[in-house]
């Protein structure tokens, strides 16, 4: 999975590698909103539309409840049964386990965002690898970021233990001697007796300072240089863990589920037209070609991206003022709501009264075809309204310092309708034979992956 890669830039980049590489790319339609990382990953993993898998963003609400659902809580808690059941029952890892061909397969998932392996169905993998947080956090002796290795099988647990030294060496390939890397004992986790958590702590250099803001500034600069290498690190870790689980019974398959973050990071920081983004995309394609030397590879994306030279200022209400958004110099008050800035959409959830998706499901300055709403939101989770930005803008709460730049994802408005930008992502297959299933929508990827040999 290459995060935030639209069909057109992928197709264009692939042409630079020659026309005979792999099958495709085939265009996949994303006929729903919001088009963000959690929603896209869940759609790919489960083969269900968002209204069915119920993952509506990083944060969302059920109607009549003020308790937020958060995908980032997935690594720490057994998820809320009702909302997360469709995900757990239909995840890619679960369906692989239910397929007689792959029942004994070794499955390793890895991503640079903590919730993504769980959208793949971490509970049914052998090992899932991810950072506990997205940036360094305070600990007893400074700031550090923890990489979690969740083992859900005995052989997965043994593979992590057997790989500790080599993984440490791979990690030191990313940082200089001012960092301190160690395997540490993690806090107790709650995924049951079959689960064991391992954790590698990356202590950042002391010169990064004492404040979280300053440390995160240094972290941001580190990622600017290293984010492609971070993806490569996770690829190498997956390969190491799979190797450590050999031999597998009956020649079962080794399956890697990786979400690569570099395109998403550079897409947000510099925009998909930037040289940095092109570099990340090229690196992702190159990595896929390298892996295709030893296995079949399927490449796709969770959503597209667009350059956002402009921005719309969103401001939460304070001192009795209503929340507001400024578009084209016009200040607009927003109805009272629980607000979620989800990707580049501003979503409002009203806890009062029923919501009629036909009349109120999507509303704002931006017209979105109402027929898209039923594909997008579970009836119990329809927001009161969504503000979609125009094609050049991101919605941000940056006040004085926000002057646009970079890029954003998600759906946007263009000329009063839902823009086709962000509406398609690629499916590219590197295999010996033509793919037996070529889907037309993102929700068809899981079936195509299951058919891959």
């Amino acid at each position: 999975m290459l995060d935030q890669v639209g069909y057109d830039p992928f197709d264009s980049m692939l042409r630079t590698f020659g026309n005979q590489v792999g099958w495709g790319p085939y265009p996949l339609v994303l006929d729903y909103i919001p088009r963000t990382t959690p929603v896209g990953h869940a759609t790919i993993s489960t083969g269900l539309l968002p209204k069915e898998h119920r993952i509506q963003g990083r944060v969302w609400f059920s109607r009549g409840s003020s308790a937020a659902h958060r995908v980032e809580a997935l690594p720490e808690t057994v998820p809320t049964p009702t909302v997360f059941d469709p995900l757990r029952r239909n995840s890619l890892a679960r369906r692989l386990r239910q397929d007689p061909t792959h029942r004994d397969a070794a499955i390793v998932a890895a991503a640079a965002k903590n919730f993504i392996p769980f959208l793949f169905g971490a509970w049914d993998t052998d090992v899932s690898v991810y950072p506990r947080t997205t940036s360094p956090e305070r600990d007893s002796s400074g700031y550090s970021i923890d990489i979690i290795f969740d083992a859900f099988s005995m052989r997965g647990d043994a593979a992590v233990v057997a790989s500790e030294s080599e993984v440490l060496s791979l990690a030191y390939g990313l940082v200089d001697s001012n960092w301190s890397l160690n395997w540490v004992t993690p806090a107790k986790s709650s995924f049951g007796p079959g689960h064991r958590r391992h954790m590698m702590r990356w202590q950042v250099p002391a010169r990064w300072g004492k404040s979280r803001s300053k440390v995160r500034e240094s972290w941001r600069h580190f990622l600017e240089q290293s984010i492609v290498a971070v993806d490569e690190f996770y690829t190498n870790v997956i390969e190491r863990l799979l190797a450590a689980m050999r031999p597998l019974p009956g020649g079962a398959a080794e399956i890697a589920l990786q979400s690569c973050v570099a395109t998403d990071s550079y897409g947000h920081w510099h925009g998909p037209s930037s040289l940095q983004y092109v570099r990340a995309l090229g690196a992702g394609i190159t990595r896929a070609i390298r892996l295709a030397g030893q296995a079949s590879v399927m490449v796709t994306s969770d959503h597209g991206g667009r350059d956002t030279p402009a921005w719309w200022k969103w401001q939460a209400g304070s001192n009795g003022n209503a929340a507001s958004i400024t578009t084209g110099g016009e200040l607009t008050s927003l109805p009272p709501a629980d607000f979620v800035l989800e990707g580049d959409h501003l979503v409002g959830y009203s806890q009062n009264g029923a919501v009629n998706p036909t009349e109120h499901g999507v509303r704002g300055g931006m017209l979105v075809p109402v027929q898209n709403v039923p594909r997008s939101y579970h009836p119990d989770q329809v927001p009161s309204w969504i503000v979609l930005p125009d094609i050049d803008s991101a919605i941000m709460d940056l006040r004085q310092v926000g002057n646009g730049g970079g890029g954003a994802h998600g759906a946007c408005e263009d000329g009063g309708t839902l823009s086709p930008v962000d509406g398609r992502v690629p499916l590219w297959v590197l295999a010996n034979a033509t793919p037996s299933t070529i889907p037309s929508g993102l929700e068809g990827v899981a079936a195509a992956f299951l058919a891959l040999r």
Partner: protein, 112 residues
């Protein structure tokens, strides 16, 4: 379904500060750095009470950032001045804080 832009007079309802869930305001680093940035850039006549309240609510984080940027002695005296509502003309510091803020915002936008 209306395709008009929402206007303030269309929405009505009780005006109240909404809970901010999700978006960047929830982020500790962005919120604390923003508080310091706004205090340094406070124009004459702005709402002093709110600026000081935000500084106080992020006291530990703001102090740690100032300490990183200026050293402990200067950080303490400058923070005290800001809490008293004094306008601090330190363009160099404001620029540096803005750089930190931008980096933090970018991390939030990219989800880390």
């Amino acid at each position: 379904m209306s395709t008009e832009r929402m206007r303030g007079d269309q929405v009505g309802g009780k005006r109240q500060p909404p809970p901010v869930i999700g978006g960047v305001l929830e982020d500790e680093s962005v919120a604390s750095t923003m508080a310091l940035y706004e205090a340094l850039r406070r124009p004459p006549g702005s709402d002093l009470e709110e600026v000081v309240a935000r500084l106080r609510s992020w006291r530990e984080e703001v102090m740690a950032l100032l300490d990183d940027l200026l050293g402990p002695d200067e950080a303490r005296s400058l923070f005290d001045a800001l809490l008293r509502g004094q306008i601090v003309r330190r363009a160099d510091l404001a620029t540096r804080v803005e750089q930190v803020l931008r980096a933090n915002i970018e991390l939030v936008r990219a989800g880390g």
